[in-house]
Every structure is written in C-alpha cells, then in structure tokens.
Amino acid sequence: MSTRQFKPLRLGRLLRNRELGLTLVLLALIGLIGLRNPAFATPGNLQFILGDTSILIVLALGMMCVLLVGSIDISVPAVMALSAMTAGIVMKNNLVQADTQVLVDGALTAATVKTSTPLPLLLLLAAGVGAACGLLNGLLIAYGRVLPIVATLGSQYILYGLSHLISGGQAIYRKDMSDAFIQFTRGNVLGFNSKVLIMLAAFLVLMAFINYTRYGRRLYAVGSNAEAARMSGINTRAVTLSAHTIMGLLAGLAGMLYASHDNKVTQDMAMGYEMYVIAACVIGGVSVTGGVGKITGVALGALTIGVINNGLTMLRLTGNSEFWKKAIQGAVILIAIITNVYIKRAHERRVLRERRL
C-alpha cells in the first residue's frame, strides 16, 4: 500500500479526534469572550474557572464510569448532600471553639479558633458514605435488575430524605465548620487551589485506572458488549457495581468540596446538578449507551461548561441572576450537543463519499 493512500486515513482519524476538536472549541470560546471582556482571558480568571469547575470535573469523571457500563446515575446531588451532611454533623458535634490572640497588622487581636475532627478523617467519612450510596445504587441496578433511571431517581428521593432526617432539619452553616474546613477550598498549594489539586489527583488516578488496568478496561468491555463480556468470563454485575461505587465515592468527595466552597450544607444541596454532570460527559464524547468515552474528553467537556458558565457572568449578559444564566446555559448546552451531532454527521458523509465502490 502506498503512503499516498494512507494520508486521508490519518487525516480522518485526526478530524475525528474529539479531544482536539473540543480543545479548539474551548480556545475559541475563551478568545471570543475575552474579546468582549478582556478581564475574562486573564490567567487569574482562567485559574478561577479551573477551580470553579473542579467539582464538576470530579463528578463527571465518576459519571463517565457509570455511563461507560451503560448505566446512569441521577442521584449524584443527593449523594453529595448526604455525604456532606454526615461529615458536617460529625464536624459540628466535635467543634471546639477557643479564644486566642492572633497577630493582625502587627497587633495582637482577639480571635476565635474553631477546631474539630481532622479534615482528612472528614473527607474519608464523606467519601465512605458516598461510596456506600453508590454501592447501593449499583446493587439495585446490577443485582436487583432495576433500570438505572428508576433506581437512581428513587435513591435521589431517599438520600435527600435521609440527609434531612439525620440533620434534624438543621442546615450546617459557617459557624458550625472548623477553620480547616472553611479554608479547605480556599487554600493554595504550589500556586494551585486545593480544589484543583484534588481534581487533578482524581483525574490522574482514574486515568491510570481506566486506561492502564484490566479492571478499568472492563468498564468499556461491559458497555460495548455485555453479552460478550459475560461469555469471556467478566463478571458484568461486579463491574457495574464498581462503576457506581466509584461514582458514589467521587460524589462524596465532591460534596465536601461543594460544602466548603459554599460554606454551608443544606438538605437540598446541589439539587439539579446532575444535569451539568451528564451534559459535561455528553459534550466530552461519552455515549449514553455505553462503551464510548475518553477521560480527557470528559474533563474538556466539563471545562467547556465551566467556561460558558463563567463567560456568561463576565459578559454581564445576564446581570446577577442565576436563572437568566441557567436559561441561556440550557440553550448553549443544547446548541453544543446539536452542533456535535452535525459535526459527526458531516464526518460520516465525508467517509461515505470517500468510500470507493
């Protein structure tokens, strides 16, 4: 075969490279919004966006695992709420306030220091609660044969209800939080916000898991052809179960980030957030029928949503209103998804035209 014949083939593969396309779209978006408001495209703001989107990325990584096996989880925000609430209550109950004096502008000033259960323990607790919720979802779906949408719709109700029950109707506010927790998402390590660092850690671990371990590849196998996977000895139920557990664990973690970021945990925390998570995956190229999706694509998809989100604020198109933003966001996500379809179709047509008869 001559090299000339090979060229269009390579080009085709490059064009189909979704991550590249998304990066271009992302850059174009940043450029366009930056033209309207120069403050947008500054490194500072971009870093802010990255921090702001970290929670979404963490969740989208988990959702990707679930979508890969051909399942879905819409109970994500409820898992976040329950995990954050559990950890929040533990934190509140163990809170110790001490009056000390701290040095402010060269003078000693009276201040209150709030300490509680060590932060890592709280994170572990939240992640554990989240993983347990995910495990439960997974059991219902994989072993109880309940359809994923129904199962997680039901568990969304249940988990929100539980977080209300354990809180006794009391939300957790800033006054109930330890200093360490309040500072958790505001601190910088090596110039990066800790949200970004946690996101990066989750990203790298999951990337290694999904791309370089046999257990990770099984997520793809089950979603691509469950029957074949079963016949080659893969325990498809266990794989589905673990995907949901990973999702739950990450949701628990994200719940803590969300709580620290907002300085409060309410019973209806993050309600409706699942939509952004799923949209991030879809924009990032994950197929809702399973078997298709790349981890870099998902991160880029989430970033695209983050940029749109922040851009809408920066453009002041929407004033200060959350809902204006949401209305436009719904439209933008719809347009993004539809554009994506058209690009795919155009590519398919091109392939057909190039096919020799």
Binding site: L9, Y212, R214, R217, A221, E227, M231, S232, R355
Partner: protein, 511 residues
C-alpha cells in the same frame, strides 16, 4: 456409529459423557455425549434449538452442566467459569460475534488476557505488537489500531480467530463461522482452519452449511431436541443422511417445483444509487417471477432493497412500481403501495418478540381491524388464526408470543404480517438465514405459491444453491454495482461466483 470407531483413550483430547443442562422449564441438553480427537475437525450439526449453543457454552464454562462429566486429556475438569475454560485451552468463536465494537482490534484480541508490564499496568505497545504478529500469522493485514466495529464481518471473524490463537487454545470451537461470509471469504477461513489443524489444534465446527462440513470435517455429530443422535466419519455420511437425522424424518423434495407464469412488469429500478453504498443499479421484476439478488456480503444488496422500500433514501435513480414512479420515505409508504419488505434480521427488524402472533400479524393493518373506531379483538384473532393456518405456523394458538417460536416459525410470522397487507411485490432479504432445514423447505414452498398467485418476489440471498434452485433470474452485485444479470438457463456456480468476485482483490483497511 460411535462403536464402529474404537479410538484409543489417549487419542482423545476431549471426552464428554452424559451431560445434562437444565434451564427454567427446558432441558437444553439431555444426556449428551461427544468425543474430540487430537487434531481433528469435528462438525456438530443440528436444527435450531437442538442444543448446539448450550453445548458450546457448557464447554466454555459459560454454563455449568447439571450432570455428566467432561474429560480433558483424560482428566476430569470442572469449568466453573469462562476463565477456567480459557486457562485449560478451550476457546470459542461465537455465532453472534462476541466482539467489542467500540474498542480497537488489538484490545479485542487481548481483552481478559491483557499484556501487562511490571507494576501491573497494561502495555499498549506490546498489545499492539503482539496483535499485529498474530494477524500476520493468519495472513491478514488488518490494522491492530482499527476500531473493531468498522471492520467487515469477515475481518472480525479473523480477529476472533486471532483472539483464540492468542490464548494458545488446543480446542477451538467455531459456532457458524461462515454464516455471514461469502464463498471466497469462506474459502479463506477454510484454509486458516486447515492450517490450525495441521498445527495440532482440535476444532469443533458448528455449521448449517453442508459445504463447510464436507470440505473441512473429519467426523460429524448430530444433535436433535437436546439429545445426542450419532457420530459418523465424514466419508460415510452424505447430506441426505445428515438431514434425515437432523430433522428426524426424510424430506422428499427440498426445493419445490416452481409453476408460476411470468406476467407484467411490477417493479423497475434504474440508475439507482446511494453515496458510499451502491451506484447505477438497474433491474426489473415481473409478476410471478422470483428474482435473486446475490453477491458477496457487503456488495450492497441489503442497501439496495432498503433504498427501494423506503428504509433509506436513494441519492439518484428512479423506482417505478406498477407503472408509477415512486420514492418512499419510510417502509410504511411502500407497504401502502403494495411493496413489502421482509427484513434481514427477523428478531430486531421483523418482529415484536414479546407480542403474540396475532398482534404481530395484525400490526401493519390495524386500521382495518376497527369497529366503531375501536379495535376489534375478534378481527385481530381472525387475522392471527388465518396466518397460522395459511403458513402452517407451529404454535398452540395465535396468543403464543413470537419469542416462544423457532426461527423458521418466526420467519413465517413475519411473512404473515406482510401478507396481511395488500402487497403484490415482496422483497425478501435472506429469508432462510438461520432457519432450520424443515422450515427452509416450507418457506421455499410459500415463495412458489406466492409467485403462482402473481406476486413478484425479489430475494436477497447468499446461498448459492438457493439462488440456483429458486430464482428465474439473478442480479449479481459486486462492490456496490450490478455486475451482471443471469437467466436461469445460464446459472452455473462458477458463473455466479465469477460475477460476484471483486475485480481486484485486496484487503481494505477501514477508513
């Protein structure tokens, strides 16, 4: 029979005795025995539902037998799950391809048998390299990085063989490997299988095609109704004997005598084309005629009939149906104008499997089942029983669900559905694919009857004997174009094969 061939125990790689497998409500295998010699190709045949698939799944550890023993190299083994079977050197290539369409060829080959490097991570470089080497050893130039779903069926089959080879299988089970392959592709597969045999691999070959069996197998075993019927050396078996044992009775005339007279032109297609699939396709179909549309798989036959019947839309050309130029946007329109399509995949395209026979049959004609604007159950019942009677569908009543029927009877229900409409032109895409011998004969008879009633029938088929025995003329396609149209008098296997063969043969890498 078995006793006639005393084989020394040590010559047997696999010895299965008294295996029974039970599913809720059915005995899928009933006291089945089977032996496989070292380096032999052993054909396993039987009608659909005879227990072949279950037999393989028991051998590969997908199912565990409820009783009976399996001896591998004289040792009793218990295949508790597919991984155990694989470790023991038993590999299977399943009928419905067990591939992961979204993953690469290399990953497909090594799924479950990953190429790891020290800390336990997958080494993609080794994976690709070893995959390329395996494929080369099979004489194929498939790109290991290509996506599995974009390969042709034949190429996927080769990848599956490479997968089995990668596991160093000593026993290879092939379930209907040629079902979706053209003659040439089958020939290539035969030579690969013979090569494996020469290297000492033992092969269990399951096939509906007698050509496969007679050109490859050393021995043949027949299963019927989940029971073992017998084993014969290939030289002492002939197709009549095997068919008799498979069906349990003798079939006098497999292909019926066609008596219909050719009438006026019903369908005329000229210059039809669809970008990327086929172009410049022209032919005509007359009343009382059975017109074959044949060629290799992938030549564009199904795409042509789909474009004619409105499943897809052609990009150029004209279609004339009973004197009027038509262009359909969906199959319903075509059906309304008397052009019916019996699709290739009866389970996915032809039937609502959980629905009853009568509900399936009445579906296209629901509007005619109305009384005072509401559906009349009596009318629907009548339609169901009419179809059962007319087509001799084996069922207790019209209330039996479609998924409880055998393949052949399912196909008859699809036919009944189309006959309930007022169609005059019947397009049948692989009407006997995956259908047992008995039902095949019945379907052929129905086709002849329809032709005698003045129907025009366009039959897409890959089976050479079927085309030669049934068709008045045959349109032969290659690479998306009509290569020739032959009259019945000019039918020869060589002629049809020559017209089907691509002009320049080379294996194409997927774009």
């Amino acid at each position: 029979m078995q006793e006639g061939h005393q084989t020394a125990r040590e010559d047997l790689i696999l010895e299965i005795s008294h295996v029974t497998k039970i599913f809720p409500g059915v005995r899928a295998l009933d006291d089945v025995g089977f032996t496989l010699r070292r380096g032999e190709i052993h054909a396993l045949i039987g009608e659909n539902g005879a227990g072949k698939s279950t037999f393989i799944k028991v051998l590969t550890g997908v199912h565990q037998p409820d009783s009976g023993t399996i001896l591998l190299n004289g040792q009793q083994v218990r295949m508790t799950d597919p991984l155990v079977a694989r470790r023991l050197g038993i590999a299977a290539i399943y009928q419905h391809l067990a591939a992961y369409p979204h993953l690469s060829v290399a990953e497909n080959i090594f799924m479950g048998n990953e190429q790891l490097r020290p800390p336990g991570f997958i080494s993609w470089r080794n994976t690709r390299r070893r995959a390329a080497r395996l494929l080369q050893s099979l004489g194929s130039s498939i790109d290991p990085a290509a996506q599995m779903g974009e390969l042709s069926v034949a190429q996927q089959q080769i990848v599956e063989i490479a997968k089995a080879l990668s596991q160093d299988a000593s026993v290879l089970i092939m379930d209907e490997p040629t079902a979706a392959l053209s003659l040439t592709e089958s020939e290539e597969l035969y030579s690969i299988v013979r090569g494996l045999k020469a290297k000492g691999t033992s092969v269990i070959l399951i096939s509906h095609r007698f050509e496969d069996i007679f050109s490859l197998a050393d021995r043949v075993t027949v299963l019927r109704d989940a029971r073992y019927i017998g084993t014969w050396d290939i030289d002492e078996a002939d197709s009549a004997l095997l068919v008799n044992h498979m069906v349990g009775r003798s079939i006098d005339r497999f292909f019926p005598q066609k008596t219909a007279d050719i009438g006026e032109e019903l369908l005329k297609v000229s210059g039809l084309g669809r970008t990327g699939f086929f172009q410049d396709v022209s032919f005509s179909l007359h009343a009382g005629e059975i017109l074959g549309l044949t060629g290799l798989v992938g030549a564009g036959r199904t795409e042509v009939v789909e474009a004619i019947t409105g499943v897809t839309r052609p990009d150029y050309g004209t279609i004339t149906l009973m004197g009027q130029q038509v262009r359909f946007t969906r199959p319903g329109e075509a059906l309304g104008r008397g052009l019916a399509l019996m699709p290739e995949d009866r389970q996915k395209q032809g039937l609502l499997l959980p629905w009853s026979i009568r509900d399936n049959v009445s579906l296209p004609m629901l509007d005619s089942c109305r009384k005072h604007r509401l559906l009349s159950q009596a009318h629907i019942n009548r339609m169901g029983s009419h179809a059962i009677e007319q087509l001799a569908i084996k069922a207790r009543s019209g209330l039996d669900t479609a998924d409880s029927l055998s393949g052949g009877n399912q196909q008859k229900v699809v036919l009944g559905k189309l006959l309930s409409s007022s169609a005059r032109v019947m397009v049948m895409d692989e009407p006997t694919k995956g259908v047992d011998v008995g039902s095949k004969a019945a379907i052929y008879q129905i086709m002849c009857d329809l032709a005698a009633q003045g129907f025009g029938i366009l039959m897409v088929s890959s089976e050479m004997p079927e085309v030669m025995a049934m068709c008045d003329r045959a349109v032969i396609m290659r690479q998306g174009r009509v290569s020739t149209i032959l009259d019945r008098a000019d039918f020869t296997p060589e002629g049809i094969l020559r017209a089907s063969m691509p002009l320049e043969r080379k294996e194409e890498t997927p774009a």
